[in-house]
Structure formats: C-alpha cells, structure tokens
C-alpha cells in the first residue's frame, strides 16, 4: 500500500524520545507516561532544570537506584524504584492529581494507539476483551499546558496511527497538542494535523500515504534530524 519501506527510514524509540526531549523547556514541570515516554528523561538536554512528577505522589525524582539499593516505598507510577533529586517532595494522591488537572504541569507525554486530527487520544485499551485498566491516563490528558504523544507513525501491521477519528476507545477528547512519530513532528491545531518536521528521506506524498488524515502545511516544514547513534 506504500511505495516506500517505513522500517528503512523510521526513527527508533530512543530517537523519537530524543526529539521530544529537545522541546522540554528549562524550569518546567513534566509528567512522562509509563513505558516509552519515560525514556525521554534520559535525553534531557544539558543545562535544563526539569522537575519530574509521578502520579503516586512524588515531585522531583531522579535516576533509578542501583540494583540492590531499591527502597520499594520509593517508587514511581510504573512501580519502578526511583531516587530523589534535591528539592523533591511527597504528597498524597489527591494533591498529585490536583497538580495534573489543575493546570500546574507544563508538559505531559503519553503513548498512543491512535491520535485523531482533532486531538482525540486512544491509548488505554484496544477493544472490549480482557481486563480493562486505565490508571492515570484519563487524568493526565487534562490540565498540562502541552499534552504530547510519542509513537511509531504506523502500527506493527502498517496501519496509520494518526487518523481522522479514533476507532479504539478514547482516553480523552481534543487533548493532544503535538505528536512525535518515527517519521515526523506534527502539531494539532484547529482540529487539523499540521506538519512541522519530517525526515528528509521521506517525501510529503510518502508521509501522507501512511497517515490516516490530511497533513496540512502551515509555514515551513523543517527537517527532522536526530543523532544516529542512540
């Protein structure tokens, strides 16, 4: 269905995370979703002071402890052991989600099954089978000044993840502001996908052919360039 092989050019998860990390501003409060988005912290640019929030009630956590030095009362929302940076704090769950919904976070980054052109996000379950689990995803998509998604551009079987409207159960309505994919950086504005950056090796026609809704151009489309050795 496409005239190019995505896997020849697509960015790795580490490269997508690196690109997303470049947009984290100095002095910001950030929540990184469990799994892929957590990787972004590894690529935080030098010289930027970023405070990470985790839903279970910690602000200002740092790197994982060394193996054998874990204290399992000190974990993140993914139930991984963490350490604290100077200036960290603890709080209960209601305060933690007040930070989320109350507009106090600058950025939340999540994963996605599908993103619609109006900013709808589907990322918590694929169908109605199995055991449903939502966690904090439906809260995290509300309140942060920017809600970004990191994702492969297409599913494992090649279907677009950027679509006109989501077919999987929604996590939130009209909530995503920017999408970092394995091929491009795309903003959501006025219920449209607006292409900001694309891999130089991919033509606009090729990119459109693996995107489920129209890509709009508003101003310059920059080259998406990332370090190769990540």
């Amino acid at each position: 269905m496409t005239d190019f092989n995505i896997s020849d050019v697509a960015l790795s998860n580490a490269q997508i995370a690196w690109r997303a990390a470049q947009d984290i501003e100095d002095g910001s409060y950030v929540n990184l979703g469990i799994g892929f988005p957590e990787m972004i912290a590894k690529f935080q640019p030098d010289g930027r002071d970023v405070t990470y929030h985790t839903e279970n009630g910690v602000l200002g956590f740092g790197k994982a402890p060394l193996e054998g030095e874990e204290d399992w009362d000190l974990i993140n929302a993914g139930k991984k052991a963490i350490t604290l940076n100077p200036g960290a704090s603890y709080f209960h769950h209601a305060d933690s989600f007040a930070m989320v919904r109350g507009g106090h976070l600058d950025l939340a980054v999540l994963g996605a099954y599908q993103i619609a052109q109006n900013g709808d996000l589907a990322n918590w379950r694929i169908g109605s089978k199995g055991v449903p689990a939502v966690g904090g995803a439906m809260d995290l998509v509300h309140g942060a000044k920017r809600v970004a998604v990191v994702t492969d551009h297409v599913t494992k079987d090649g279907k677009p993840k950027l679509v006109e409207s989501c077919t999987f159960p929604l996590t939130g309505v009209g909530c995503v502001t920017r999408v970092y994919t394995s091929l491009a950086v795309i903003d959501i504005a006025g219920s449209k996908f607006v292409l900001k950056e694309k891999l130089p090796a991919v033509t606009l026609t090729q990119l459109q052919s693996v995107t489920g809704a129209t890509l709009h151009i508003d101003g310059e489309v920059a080259d998406l360039t990332v370090p190769e050795d990540l």
């Binding site: 009630g57 603890y90 989600f97 199995g130 689990a133 939502v134 904090g136 309505v173």
Partner: protein, 239 residues
C-alpha cells in the same frame, strides 16, 4: 483517648460480611500487608468477612495482600484504576471467569472521590473521562467552554492503612512515597484502622510533622518491621 489496639486480630475483628473496605497503598508502597493478612486469616478460620468490596488503586499482585484476599474468595467486587498489572493473575482469573465485579475508575477520579467523601462533598465535576466509555450515563456540564463529568463521593465502612509513625491519639506520618492513598482513605471511612511501624505516646510526633490528624483515625496497631509487598511479590511469597 487511647486508640491503640494490642493485636492485628482484634483490630480487624469487627469488619462484617459485605463490608466496603478501602485499602491504602500504591503497588507495594504504603500497603498495610499485615492488616490484610490478619483479615484473610480471620476469613479462613471463620468464613467471615466474605463478599467484601475492596477499594485500592490496583487489584493485587502475586500471592499476598489483596491478591491473596481475592484468591481466598472473600472479595465480591474491586473498585480500582489499574487491575491489569504484572503478576495480577489472582484478579484476572476471577474477572475473566465472571466471579468478581469490577468498577474501573480513572486514578485521579478515584483519589478525588475518596477525598470528597472525607470532606463531605457528595459530587464534583472533573474533566477526566469526558467523552470516554467510563463517563457513560454520567451527567456532564460545561464550565468556561470546557466539558466536565459529574462524579460522586466514594465512602467506605472501613479503611485499612499504613503509617510510619503513629501515636496513641491516632496522628500519623508516612514513609517516603507510601503516603499515596492512605491519608485520603483515612478521611473517607466510617472506621479507619492504621498499622504503624513505630507507635509512641501522644506528643511523640511533632505537630508540624503530622500528615493525618488523629481525628481521622479510629484504631492504631503497631507492626514493627512490617513486610514490604513488593519484596514478597518478587520472592514469590504465598499467604
């Protein structure tokens, strides 16, 4: 006023069949394992309390704590945000067999519903879950151009929580990120039972350090050197 209870068995002895029970903790952090195990022991010995509803962020891991409660067959319903985590077979098996009910609540909504109950607020509006299947049937309203879902308070008959330091009048502190749901649940239950790792006389906790004031706590039982749920799960411990 002395709220201390000498034994775990006595602390949980009044919980009846069908009780709605909040259990503090997030994963293994701040989970009152010894109180849970005392409740399971009572169920195994007497058949009671059965058919309880458990409110927790998760639905248990491994073969201990809430997972062991479910495995023992004493839980009729779970109210939680994330039942599908690693080593959650106890819940998964019962759920997929239709033997346990699930009320799935977004994590922040779960916390706020519990807080609201403790604060005497019967309902509130939240943006979370608007436009999703978890908002089906719930009233919505627009405020300043954005849509919100009405959610109700979530109360309980009992709360089982874990503090670090406690005193005889029920003041509590928490250890590291073990705070999580514990202070909220303490407020929202008719009767709150706290296990604490260190128990002292009134006055031993600096009032400036108290996280949960004693008014929210009905019973305190000391469990020195408590077990850590995550360690038990990793070592495959069975209760």
């Amino acid at each position: 006023m002395d709220k201390t209870i000498p034994t775990l068995e006595k602390a949980i002895s009044e919980i009846p069949d069908g009780a709605q029970i909040m259990i503090g903790g997030f994963g293994g952090s701040g989970a009152p394992i010894e109180l849970i195990h005392a409740l399971i022991d009572r169920f195994r010995a007497t058949g009671s309390p059965k058919n309880v509803t458990v409110i927790n962020n998760n639905a248990g891991n491994g073969f201990i704590g809430i997972a062991a409660m479910i495995k023992a067959g004493m839980v009729g319903k779970m109210i939680c945000s994330f039942p599908r985590s690693s080593n959650a077979e106890a819940f998964n098996e019962k759920y997929l067999a239709g033997d346990i009910e699930l009320e799935l609540v977004p994590q922040g909504t779960l916390a706020e519903r519990i807080r609201a109950a403790g604060a005497g607020i019967p309902a509130f509006y939240t943006p979370s879950s608007f436009g999703t299947e978890l908002a089906n049937g719930k009233p919505t309203e627009e405020f300043e151009g954005k849509s919100y879902v009405r959610e109700h308070w979530l109360k309980a008959d009992f709360a089982l929580i874990k503090g670090q330091e406690g005193d005889t009048v029920g003041n509590l502190t928490y250890r590291l990120a073990g705070r999580n749901f514990n202070p909220l649940m303490a407020m929202a239950a008719d009767k709150t039972i706290a296990q604490v790792s260190v128990l002292g006389a009134a006055g031993t906790i600096n009032p400036e350090q108290v996280i949960t004031p004693g008014i929210f706590v009905d019973a305190v039982v000391e469990v020195s050197n408590p077990q850590q749920e995550e360690v038990l799960v990793r070592t495959g411990e069975v209760h």
